[in-house]
Amino acid sequence: MSSSPNDPVRHCAEQPELTDLHSNAERRRMLLKGLGKGSAIAVAAAPIKSMAATALTADGKLCTISGVASGVRSVKTGTTTCIGRTVGYWSVANSWPKNGSNQEVVKVGLTEYLRSSATFFSVFGAGSTSTMATLFTTVTDETHWIVALLNSNYYGSAFPYDSTTIKAQYTDVNKRAAAIAFYKNFMETSSV
């Protein structure tokens, strides 16, 4: 059986070996059949969701997964357990850092953005026009981006990226998916 190593495998084929073109044609037909039945394009091209293969390294810090299941921190033997607070923690307004006027804020570099009135768009330069306060009522990836900024503000150099870099990761479409997967999967470990 000749097959390209890149041919998609049929859903019901359990082996990683790839099927021949006849099966690929069946899969393609199955996928196309579900695409749309008439007037409208049934599927707008949804963003690809990806999961990174390994934990990232940043500035010599390797965030280990041991922090996820424990309340302990790894010793500094070249690895650091990176921690961050969860969406649940930051959804409480009172948890946010406050400025001199006692208003809840998040910072990117030296610039402050008010939780109650600044939009995600104003902070990141793109994305939702909802306020940051609103984005904690229904959790989306944008909520996690704000949480990444808050954790960076709170933990300072103990957090792998500073706020300016986090914003740049959002802006860079090549980095965005891997970055948000990292923050969601590894950097929201503490609810207290």
């Binding site: 990683p16 999961m51 299941a69 424990s70 309340g71 790894s74 010793v75 999967n185 609810s191 207290v192």
Partner: protein, 332 residues
């Protein structure tokens, strides 16, 4: 022989000597510690756990040692040592027992790669298992602690062990970790629940561990097949609501909750893909435990009625019936 067959002084003697060897699920531990709270915690919570003979193979040797130098006496600390290494920073000595439980989890999650390991609770009934992946703040442990007192068997409250060869779940059945408000909630929900003395001001707040009822441990060798994947989310004031979650989405979320998905490569993907194939996947929002119990009872009864275990997804959301005690007994 079980740990409960030893007197408290015998437990302390073994811990201070060559070690106390016990078996939890598929793993044999040797535990050493001079710290009294470790001895008393094990004596209370592992009473029904089998001891392991010295001649048997030991998977993990753990020492919960006292702090070094001044830290033995001044603001005393506890250190976790495994295989000559100290992977964690020391903690205050009164955190020794929770640290032991975290250390035991750490050993499995970093080394037991013969399994696909998920950060997840697993409970079972009628041979069908529910996997509840566990991002922090989800309320997973509280839900798990309640369900195991309403007829569901505890397979694990923290780590799902999936055998990649047959896709079946393997039980660990170790004490359930509870923190902060959950302690009061569970004690009100099930007054007979046995809890260790809480430890305050840990990294996670106030922490305690709940003893696993005996009949769960007597069935610890029974594996189970996953039937449901439920992603719980505690939300204050919310009515219990179960909503189908797309399988593709669920697979990715499960992978993100796995300790060694990347390490296992194609095998990890196949294992999770098969698991999701055969399971109904849901998001579950709840605030009241009695309502949550009713939802899980409904899942169980629906599965019994339909008979098939082919993982057909349900269309639409599921409304919870009027709350009520679904099962008064704790026995299977």
């Amino acid at each position: 022989m079980k740990l409960g067959d030893l007197s408290p002084s015998a437990i302390r003697r073994r811990l201070r000597g060559d070690g106390l060897c016990l078996r939890t699920g598929p793993f044999n531990y040797r535990i050493r510690s001079p710290i009294d709270s470790v001895a008393s915690g094990l004596g209370l919570l592992y009473e029904q756990v089998p001891l392991v003979d010295d001649s048997e193979y030991i998977d993990f040797t753990i020492t919960m040692a006292r702090g070094r130098g001044l830290r033995r006496w001044f603001r005393p600390q506890v250190r976790f040592e495994v295989d000559g290494e100290t992977p964690f920073e020391p903690l205050p000595e009164d955190h020794a027992y929770p640290m032991l439980e975290w250390a035991m989890n750490w050993c499995v999650s970093t080394q037991a790669h013969q399994y696909l390991l998920l950060h997840s609770a697993v409970i079972e009934r009628d041979g069908r298992a529910v996997i509840m992946p566990a991002p922090p703040g989800s309320g997973k442990s509280t839900l798990c602690a309640a369900l195991i007192h309403r007829g569901w068997r505890l397979m694990s409250d923290e780590l799902a062990l999936i055998n990649p060869f047959d896709g079946r779940l393997v039980a660990l059945a170790r004490p359930v970790s509870l923190k902060n408000e959950s302690l009061d909630v569970i004690q009100r929900f099930e007054p007979s629940a046995v809890l260790n003395t809480p430890v305050g001001e840990t990294f996670k707040g106030k922490v305690s561990h709940m003893k696993v009822p005996e009949w769960h441990l007597s069935r610890i060798h029974e594996t189970a097949s996953a039937r449901w994947v439920v992603f719980p989310q505690y939300q204050a004031g919310a009515e219990a609501r179960l909503e189908p979650r797309p399988k593709a989405d669920s697979l990715l979320e499960l992978a993100q909750n796995a300790f060694n998905y990347s390490l296992l490569g194609p095998s990890g993907f196949r294992t999770l893909g098969d698991l999701v194939d055969r399971s109904d996947c849901y998001r579950f929002t709840y605030s009241k435990l009695e309502q949550a119990m009713a939802v899980f009872e409904r899942l169980r009864l629906d599965a019994q009625t339909s008979g098939g275990d082919t993982g057909h997804g349900h269309a639409g959301s599921d409304k919870v019936p009027p709350p009520g005690r679904a099962d008064d007994g704790n026995s299977p």
